[in-house]
Amino acid sequence: MKTTLSHAWSRLALSTLAVLGSSTAGAPAAAAADAPPATVGRDPSDPDPHLAAVVTAIGVERLPASAYPDAENRGLAYGSLWLTFHGLQWPYVPAPDDARRLVIGLSGWGWVDTAYEKFGPWGANPMIESSRIKYWKQQARLLLRVTPTYAINRDYFIQSQVELVGTGDQTISRSDVGGADTDDLWLRIGRWNAWDFQVGRFEGWEVFHLGMGLDQNTFERKGAVGIGESSYNIAFYGLTDNQFRPQGAAGNMAFHYYPTRQLRFELLGMAGSLSGPAYATRPVAILDLGWIKVKVGAEYQNIGGQQASDATDVTSRGIGGAVQFVFAPHLELGLNAAQGTVWSIDSNHKLNPKGSYTRTSVGGFLNVSNGDRRHPLLFGVGSLFTRNVDQNDILQNGVVDNYWLYQGFAAVQYVIWEQLFVKLVAGYSRGHWLTAGTDPPIVFDDEMYSVRVRFSSYF
């Protein structure tokens, strides 16, 4: 999509740079000091050449195709890898020359999902009837991204971004009543293709890539964890404790370093209050040679107790990696693996055995495209297997809670007029639980079939 959009078409009518004049805040005092003395009797209609040189321009534009860097080939056009940036600085809006300028970029995306799922549990789950359900759901999310970029010159920049969110259900959250209002909300300073420092609300770099299914907030992403299994929760782990935007009064800061075009580093830190005072770090490295991409990372998070007498101490650690191959224009695939541990001390300074566990996820995806720019059709499949094993061997020595979850999907996607994505995703998931809270342990299973159609557009 990005490369087919002509720059001219992509600009809004008001994209023509509106020159506001040098009175813009910050019009450099230093420059004024170098200004020649005012000439008495000067014709006011005669433009001051020096003034013209220091003029700050402001423009509003729909982000052009070049704002979405693709130097190393992000992935098959319109495919799932193509919709991620592999650590690249984006929106990428360097100044065309060494003049200062402010450009406000507009972009965004939206989707509407209509989905159906059916659970089929069996086994000795005492809550089994709660899981024997069918469910229809439609949800939506529309996001307008506003990105003011102040260019110091063609290299250095100060950029900020807010993503204004309209949301339909997604099982609300962000402290409910209306749900999410913003996604991204950040500031950064840096040099294009060299480094930047970013602070605010944003996502860490993706390591696990799940393919054309398992999108956020979907049935297949949650898997076969019904209401009856909600107290034995299990979800995939993909170096994801600190990847997504933190909820509550917490935020991120990150330093990004680009020693070469293909090698990228992110050192992300998080601080704030989650269920208690929290801090975290998540370093990630990406080697992107286009046809092969290697991503590795680690993370550490600690959440303590709010009260001075509260000894709560929950420490999460994890490590993971992914390798992805892109054989443009027809095939891309990838493999993921990650493992994380949680060690949980309760408020009375005792080990919480159910809250202390090891999570392991492995998976992969494969996308195939006809490579047709006008009529792009893609098929995608993916699988993910996760196992959680905790420390809960109170009743029987060596027998602990042991859960696993399989999630698989098949997807087909067509893009209408190179703009409207229509994606059909069918999912299957099975979960298996061995719970050691009773003697003998209770063993049960659940499975879930789902299907959904997503309409989405990126602009």
């Binding site: 027809h330 195939v368 006809n370 059709l377 098929f379 499949v381 098949a410 299957y428 099975r430 499975e447």
Partner: protein
Amino acid sequence: MRKAPRTLMAMTVVALATPAAAAPDAAMPPAEKRRELALSLLPMGLGRFTAAPGGMTSTADAAFSYGVGLHAGYVLWPGLTVGLAPQAFFNVKPKEQAGAGAQEFDLMLRVAYAVRVVETIALYAELLPGYSLIHPPDGDVAKGPVLGGGVGAALDLSDQLFAHFGVGYQVGFQKLPAKDAGAETRTRYLRVALGLGARF
């Protein structure tokens, strides 16, 4: 005087004839490929398993099954392909039954009609009548007819290679041999086919 125009004329004819001779080749479609061969992964879900243990017939949800299929076809006339589609899949059992499942082997005739909607995309419908064997880990083999059908899309990766994605349903009418009183042991599944193929 007369030779020169003739020579010029001959050269002109040659000059004109050369591209003219090449043009039909470039415009001609590649030789029609009538044979196709494809390999598919077959996730089989939302299944039902009917059996008659102790003479009482009962039907239960089948476990999620998975297998592979092959189809070899010949294009009888544009759009219509006829061929064979053997398939094998595993974990054939009621989902609540512990232990290993049976294997099902189906030998099917495949009749498909495809419509090319754009140059690189074809939509198809297929009918798959055939004969099936359900081979349990122990005990007798159930045999009988099977009927499948579905729709799908094929996308071209090159002149020869294509990928396909189809969804359909198949119903079996298998029975145990007479010594087991011909009891039903049959399956039905939602059938998904994902694969790669070649035309030649």
